[in-house]
């Protein structure tokens, strides 16, 4: 069964990640942390890394504060307006991604392709039932996949899977077997199904799924109001066993301060999808009721240069911008050490296809490149907003660092409210971020491929696109890794995205919460519980 690469091919790991996965507790991880924070300012005490673990109480209700998407949100996993926190609890996918970025079984127990990477066969788990009692079969898996690529639904994952999957060539030879004939060879196809829009819904339920939330996940829906509160309860017949909790109550709170106050006052137990700023995180950590856990490398921060706008049309200027700054300085200032350098490569460190290739910082070379390109004493505007607490410190740290190469940057603060409609992909230079959790193939194709709707630098290079196509069509594991690593080198050398760092998300949670674990888009709903 050709699953994703084994440990023998994986790149060396940094001690911090090993410590975390090796089951070391809070203290162990915190002691090993200085590996990445040693050169930073040591004024503030380190925030705890992992949540407390242990045997949980039998049952209990977890109360979660979440930022509401809007009142248009829906439980339909394929929709761009899906209510994220509910999805992982209500549904399962064919495959999921583990903490190391490997594709591992969920509803599919195994998968293999033909020699060309065109025809994929998935064997499905037996005896799985939806919350309403219907048995899960390949018909549900096929329906789910056809729905995602339906142009009328405009699913975000449709832009990724659409070019690969023809709805007419998704077959169900047996209730336990799904066969997908791709339109172009792709040996990374299973990894693309780990996305959180790919949760399996029952055959024919497309019109009602947004309100019913019927899936095969560890919790079933009790109530849900869009942009409001909701409740999910343990599904006793879940195939992995019953979850530790009896129920989870969800509360929508627009204001971050309101979410934090609710946690500090003991009205909620966990704040989801919220990266607390450092001042708030330290207040939470210092309180008796609540503490901080980190979702490691949860987001990568970017300063995208629009390659269609002056002066970034010139590759020498882009390279100079990358050579000019010191990522460690940006991490120390903007993340207070709670992250690792990105080296202008958005593929997360330690994931299967990652390369450690990096440009050596060289302000003099940057200066020379700018002079060569006729941009001596380059003066630029860098846009930022309060959308995320890290944007502005990152912009200021970059400005100070790049000044050593004679680049004069003015940081402009704009409205958070319309930041992603007016600034992102509009202004030549700005600050933004992405959540990690995308497999390398999806990431590189979605954010860097010519013409992709998420290509925020508008970078277009035929050679890069060809590399990705070649990688997808390459059966040999090692050869494929080399090609993806070549593609990353191109992103670092020529692309428009400066990626100073990967940052941990600072998650506020009650000291009573045990076994909180979240990485990328995976949240462990099965084991999270409360202190007995």
């Amino acid at each position: 069964m050709p699953r994703t690469p084994g440990a023998e091919g994986a790149p060396p790991r940094i001690p911090r990640r090993t410590a975390l996965l090796g089951g070391a507790g809070v203290l162990g991880a915190a002691v090993l942390l200085p590996g990445c924070a040693a050169s930073g300012p040591q004024a503030a005490p380190a925030l705890p890394e992992a949540a407390a673990t242990g045997a949980t109480a039998d049952g209990g209700v977890l109360r979660m504060a979440r930022p509401p998407a809007s009142q248009a949100e829906t439980l339909d996993p394929a929709s761009s307006l899906s209510a994220y926190e509910y999805l992982g609890a209500l549904y399962s996918r064919l495959v999921r991604m583990d903490a190391e970025g490997q594709t591992v079984p969920d509803l599919a127990t195994g998968w293999e392709s033909d020699d060309a990477g065109l025809v994929w066969t998935f064997r499905l788990r037996d005896g799985v039932r939806f919350h309403d009692g219907r048995g899960f079969t390949s018909a549900d898996a096929a329906y789910t996949l056809r729905r995602i690529v339906d142009p009328d639904l405009a699913s975000p994952q449709g832009t990724v899977l659409g070019p690969l999957v023809d709805p007419g060539r998704v077959h169900t030879p047996e209730p336990g077997v799904l066969v997908v004939e791709l339109t172009t060879p792709n040996f990374e196809f299973p990894a693309l199904l780990t996305n959180y829009h790919c949760y399996v819904v029952p055959d024919g339920d497309g019109d009602t799924i947004g309100a019913t939330g019927i899936g095969t996940g560890p919790f079933r829906l009790d109530s849900f109001s869009p942009g409001g509160r909701g409740r999910i309860v343990a599904h006793d017949d879940h195939w992995e066993g019953r979850p530790a909790l009896d129920a989870i109550e969800m509360f929508s709170m627009t204001d971050i301060q309101a979410r934090t106050n609710a946690l500090l006052a003991g009205q909620v137990d966990l704040i989801s999808q919220t990266n607390l700023d450092f001042a708030t995180a330290r207040v939470v950590e210092a309180s008796e009721r609540a503490t901080i856990a980190r979702s490691v490398n949860a987001q990568w921060y970017v300063l995208p240069m629009l390659t269609t706008a002056e002066p970034f049309t010139d590759a020498r200027v882009r390279r100079a911008m990358k050579l000019a700054y010191d990522p460690q300085h940006v991490i120390d200032v903007a993340l207070q050490g709670t992250g690792v350098p990105g080296n202008d490569n958005p593929v997360p460190p330690d994931t299967p296809y990652w390369t450690d290739y990096a440009l050596e910082r060289d302000p003099d070379r940057a200066r020379a490149l700018l002079a060569e390109a006729g941009h001596e004493g380059l003066s630029l505007e860098l846009y930022t907003s309060a959308y995320d607490p890290v944007f502005t410190p990152m912009a200021l740290a970059y400005r100070d660092s790049a000044a050593e190469a004679g680049i004069d940057i003015t940081v402009r603060n704009t409205s958070a409210d319309s930041y992603y409609t007016q600034i992102w992909m509009q202004k030549p230079l700005m600050a933004t971020y992405w959540y990690t959790g995308r497999p390398a193939d999806q990431l590189l194709n979605q954010v860097f491929r010519s013409g992709s709707s998420y290509n925020e630098t508008a970078w277009s290079d035929g050679a890069f696109d060809d590399l990705l196509d070649a990688a997808r069509a390459t059966a040999d594991e090692d050869r494929r890794r080399t090609l993806y690593q070549d593609a990353q080198r191109m992103v670092v050398d020529e692309g428009g995205a400066m990626t100073p760092m990967f940052a941990d998300r600072l998650v506020g949670l009650s000291r009573d919460v045990l076994n909180y674990h979240e990485s990328g888009f995976e949240f462990d709903y099965l084991n999270i519980g409360l202190r007995p």
Binding site: S80, A154, P156, G227, Q267, S418, T421
Partner: protein
């Protein structure tokens, strides 16, 4: 009198109408529309097009406004672009919740500020005045969200007697919302009281120095009777307008405090609607706020008439 009131009512209607036009135009000027705002980073051209089609945003803005206004005249505020729910039903629920805070705040703020203002005015430049004046100056200078945060720290986190945020939906029964009303009420009362106290104090001082108060004293009336029967009605006249302005400010301006407490009122609804560019909701809130504003001012003017003999008999003496 009737002519006066109907003239005022007519100008009120014009004001409300103008408010709705201005709000509509202002939202058109804001960057982005409901589709791009709701989708955020997922606003790919395909997704935006699909959502605009679904929300009926492809029609010209003027036509959409005309549709809205013909409905609004008949009392139908349309449906929210984001949730698809009728605006009227949602708005009334949120308005009811805001009224809970507003009524409680007005009761607390007006009572305490008149008492404190009268005390400060009567004991001018002595220690009660100094204490009241200092406290009100602090109350005026500290923004309400800071007061709100301090209250949460004191009464929800350090001594947890009151909820820090509201977990209930807008449709929760009033009884469930009552504990949550206390902190927003205190936060708003502090700010509101400060303004009214200043006004009351000044007019009490003015009135106490006037000749008719001296006359009343010379008649041999006690201080209590002089203050309650003679000085207070006159002193309240200018205060009434300040109270009216503050009440109008309450309905439109509780947005910040409601958000800090996650309170399901009009202020939170307004902020979400602005963020999502949800025009029908914004329009309805604008109309209701404008109406409240206009009505408060009208009530204040009528109240002033009732208290002031010269205004009350104005038509006769104008001959």
């Amino acid at each position: 009198m009737i002519v006066y009131i109907s003239r005022r009512l007519l100008s009120a209607v014009v004001t409300v109408l103008l408010a709705s036009v201005i709000v509509f135009a202002a939202v058109q000027l804001l960057p982005g529309d409901v589709a791009t705002q709701v989708l955020g980073q997922d606003a790919t051209p395909d997704a935006v097009a699909a959502l605009r089609e679904q929300m009926g945003l492809n029609r010209p803005a003027v036509l959409r406004f005309l549709d809205w206004i013909t409905g609004a005249v008949r009392g139908d505020f349309g449906v929210s672009l984001v949730s698809g729910e009728p605006v009227s039903a949602t708005l009334w629920l949120h308005l009811r919740n805001t009224m809970l805070i507003a009524v409680a705040t007005i009761a607390v703020a007006v009572t305490s500020s008149i008492v404190l203002g009268v005390v400060a005015g009567l004991y001018r430049d002595r220690w009660p005045d100094t204490v009241v004046s200092t406290l009100t100056l602090i109350g005026m200078s500290v923004p309400e969200f800071v007061v709100a945060t301090l209250l949460v720290l004191a009464l929800s986190i350090t001594v947890p007697v009151l909820p820090a945020v509201v977990l209930d939906e807008a449709s929760a029964p009033v009884a469930d919302l009552l504990p949550a009303v206390v902190l927003p009420t205190i936060a708003l009362s502090v700010v509101m009281t400060a303004y009214i106290v200043r006004m009351t104090r000044t007019s009490v001082i003015d009135v106490m120095e006037s000749e008719f108060v001296t006359t009343a004293r010379l008649k041999g009336l006690g201080t209590g009777r002089v203050v309650v029967r003679h000085a207070l009605p006159s002193a309240l006249l200018p205060t009434l307008n300040v109270i009216a302005m503050n009440v109008a400010w309450l309905v439109g301006g509780v947005a910040v405090v409601e958000n800090v407490f996650n309170y399901p009122g009009v202020g939170r609804m307004l902020l979400e609607a602005v963020h999502n560019r949800d025009l029908p909701v914004l329009q309805a809130i604008a109309v209701v706020s404008a109406a409240v504003y206009v009505l408060c001012n009208l009530a204040a003017d009528l109240g002033a008439m009732a208290l002031n003999p010269r205004l009350r008999t104005g038509e006769r003496s104008a001959r």
